[in-house]
């Protein structure tokens, strides 16, 4: 082609913004989410699905298999529940965590270090907070999808013991949000694959020991405090209370824990993106 087109002006009227938040946030996180959804088209769905199946396999082998030997277990309120119904809500929390962590750690690490995606985004009028909110929302979405599907499995197997189980859905979204937010914050400080392996090193024991497969009371007090400081335990307790109907006021504390986790993750992610790409 030889003709040179003249371009019709399409530049959007930029709204004058001032103050610190104006430099961090353009109110356009949805464009980051839209990009993520479009990009998902090209990803391998089997990889995405594998994250969902992991906790399902645990539920089948441990809950239904091992459960026949265990019988019932006491929840934190003292209520006795069948073993499968005891571990299912924990695995529900884990599936929310897995989905959120996959997206917010490895995927974010790759986009940041190799694909230079955020670098490109931040040369536009987007701010670091737009990128943080957008990417965390995507991770949250994935965590939510895993958990929603797992919830269906639980319902089919008759492991939702109380009507409050329906509230487990917003609860797992909260959990996914918390892990997505913190996961991205942590990842933004990582520089190499070796460091990324530390995340897996923390995740596995947290998954195994956060009162997932047996009550916290089996531990000596010191160990109990450590577990109670970690995020997954709060998620497990919150969801377990809702699906088994063993409600308590402590559940509000778990909600607050996640709200703080979300806020801390957001602040650090935004700060770090700013330091990295807008030095």
């Amino acid at each position: 082609m030889t003709s040179s087109p003249t371009f019709a002006p399409t530049r959007p009227q930029s709204k004058p913004r001032s103050g610190t938040i104006g430099a961090l946030y353009a109110g356009n996180a949805r464009s980051v989410v839209a990009r993520g959804l479009l990009a998902t088209r090209s990803t391998n769905y089997w990889v995405v699905l594998s994250g969902f199946f992991e906790p399902v396999f645990y539920l089948l082998s441990m809950g239904l298999g091992l459960g026949t030997l265990v019988g019932t277990v006491g929840a934190s309120t003292g209520q006795q529940v069948p073993y499968a119904a005891f571990i299912a809500p924990a695995l529900l929390a884990v599936s929310a965590m897995n989905g959120a962590i996959y997206d917010s750690t490895w995927n974010v690490f790759f986009k940041m270090q190799y694909a230079k995606l955020y670098e490109g985004m931040l040369t536009t009028s987007l701010g670091p907070l737009d990128v943080a909110i957008g990417e965390i929302s995507l991770a949250l979405l994935r965590g939510g999808l895993y958990a929603g599907a797992f919830m269906i499995v639980m319902q089919v197997l008759g492991l939702n013991l109380a009507w409050t189980a329906i509230l487990a859905l917003p609860a797992v979204l909260l959990i996914a949000f918390g892990f997505a937010s913190l996961g991205m914050a942590v990842t933004s400080y990582m520089k190499s694959f070796q460091q990324m392996d530390w995340i897996a090193f923390v995740m596995l024991p947290m998954f195994l020991f956060s009162a997932t497969f047996y009550p916290l009371s089996v531990y000596p007090p010191v160990l109990q405090w450590i577990i109670q400081a970690l995020p997954l335990w709060h998620g497990v307790e919150l969801v377990r209370g809702l699906t088994t109907g063993a409600l308590s006021l402590a559940m509000l504390g778990h909600v607050v824990y996640y709200l703080v986790m979300i806020a801390v993750g957001m602040v650090f992610t935004t700060r770090r993106l700013r330091a990295l790409f807008l030095d």
């Binding site: 082609m1 040179s4 087109p5 003249t6 371009f7 019709a8 002006p9 399409t10 530049r11 959007p12 930029s14 004058p16 913004r17 001032s18 104006g22 430099a23 353009a26 356009n28 464009s31 980051v32 839209a34 990009r35 479009l38 990009a39 090209s42 990803t43 694909a115 230079k116 995606l117 670098e119 490109g120 985004m121 931040l122 040369t123 536009t124 009028s125 987007l126 701010g127 790409f277 807008l278 030095d279």
Partner: protein, 308 residues
């Protein structure tokens, strides 16, 4: 004369103690094509990042489109087009989607993005590749796509950091042609390069930067006049003999430069230089006369030793 679109005064960027950019001052007029030339590590990219409102200056003044990037980063960036040194196209998206998604980052409507993307694919000669994966494009195509992407928001200033580094000659010429068209349409171009032919092709005015400071400023022709001669005669006598022959041709031309492999004689009349050498009974293995280029200016100003 309208006010400059970029005005930098004593612009400085320090990383810890090291000054990457050390008090440079320049202005860019609207519609102008302005070049930053310099060896690797001269501070070109750092300057571009500050002008692009993605890096905060340590000291000095910087004014982009009448705004201070320290306070109005997003507003300034919404009016800039950026072509980074390394392509950072979205590998997970197809060619046309790359443009559309980028336009969305600026808050443009989907309809506007689609229309603009098609216009720009045409401009970048990529219309037949709109469904391709980015990975399947050649280096030159990727660059053209990056340039198309940078034009999605109708930028008032286009920043190009080494736009043709790593491309083959054909791809470079196609790219120059596209950039020249933008220049004709009145887009302000700011580019860094270490290719002198590129600077001569595209820049109305340029500064030579070395070690974070400006060494010279002017149009390509002005710089050649000021720091070189009209022509250069290059003669080779063989690596061993060059140095000793240099003593015998002392005084010919305005200036002599002895390199390991050849001797350069700067003069306004290169043929006269060769004639004089022959008259002195010297017979080089090869000889040629060429017009002086920015490269001569550049090497004179920044030295020939390898700078890392």
């Amino acid at each position: 004369m309208s006010s400059p679109v970029i005005a930098a005064r004593l612009l400085t960027k320090k990383y810890k103690e090291l000054a990457a950019v050390d008090g440079i001052s320049f202005e860019v007029e609207p519609g102008e094509s302005f070049g930053l030339l310099g060896p690797n590590g001269a501070g070109k990219s750092t300057t571009m990042r500050m002008v692009g409102a993605v890096s905060t200056r340590t000291s000095g003044d910087l004014d982009i489109l009448g705004l201070d990037p320290n306070e109005h980063g997003p507003e300034i960036r919404s009016q800039l087009g950026v072509v980074p040194q390394q392509d950072n196209l979205d590998q997970e998206l197809r060619v046309r989607d790359n443009l559309i998604v980028y336009g969305r980052y600026f808050g443009m409507s989907l309809a506007d993005c689609g229309r603009k993307a098609d216009e720009l694919l045409e401009f970048a000669q990529l219309s037949d590749r709109k469904k391709s994966k980015v990975d399947d494009l050649s280096g030159g195509m990727k660059r053209r796509l990056t340039i198309a992407r940078s034009l999605m928001n109708d930028p008032r200033i286009l920043l190009l950091d080494e736009p043709t580094t790593g491309l083959d000659p054909q791809a470079r010429h196609i790219l120059w042609d596209r950039l020249f068209r933008l220049k004709e349409q009145g887009t302000t171009l700011v580019l860094t390069t270490h290719y002198m032919d590129e600077a001569e092709q595209l820049c109305d005015r340029l500064v030579v930067v070395d070690k974070g400071a400006i060494m010279a400023e002017g149009s390509p022709a002005q710089l050649i006049r000021a720091y070189s001669t009209r022509e250069v005669a290059e003669v080779r006598f063989g690596s061993e003999r060059n140095a000793e022959v240099a003593l015998l041709i002392e005084g010919i031309g305005e200036r002599l430069e002895v390199l390991p492999d050849r001797i350069l004689i700067y003069s306004d009349d290169g043929d006269a230089v060769l004639a004089e050498i022959a008259r002195r009974g010297l017979h080089p293995i090869t000889s040629l006369v060429r017009r002086s280029s920015l490269e001569d200016v550049f090497l004179r100003l920044t030295g020939r030793s390898l700078i890392e």
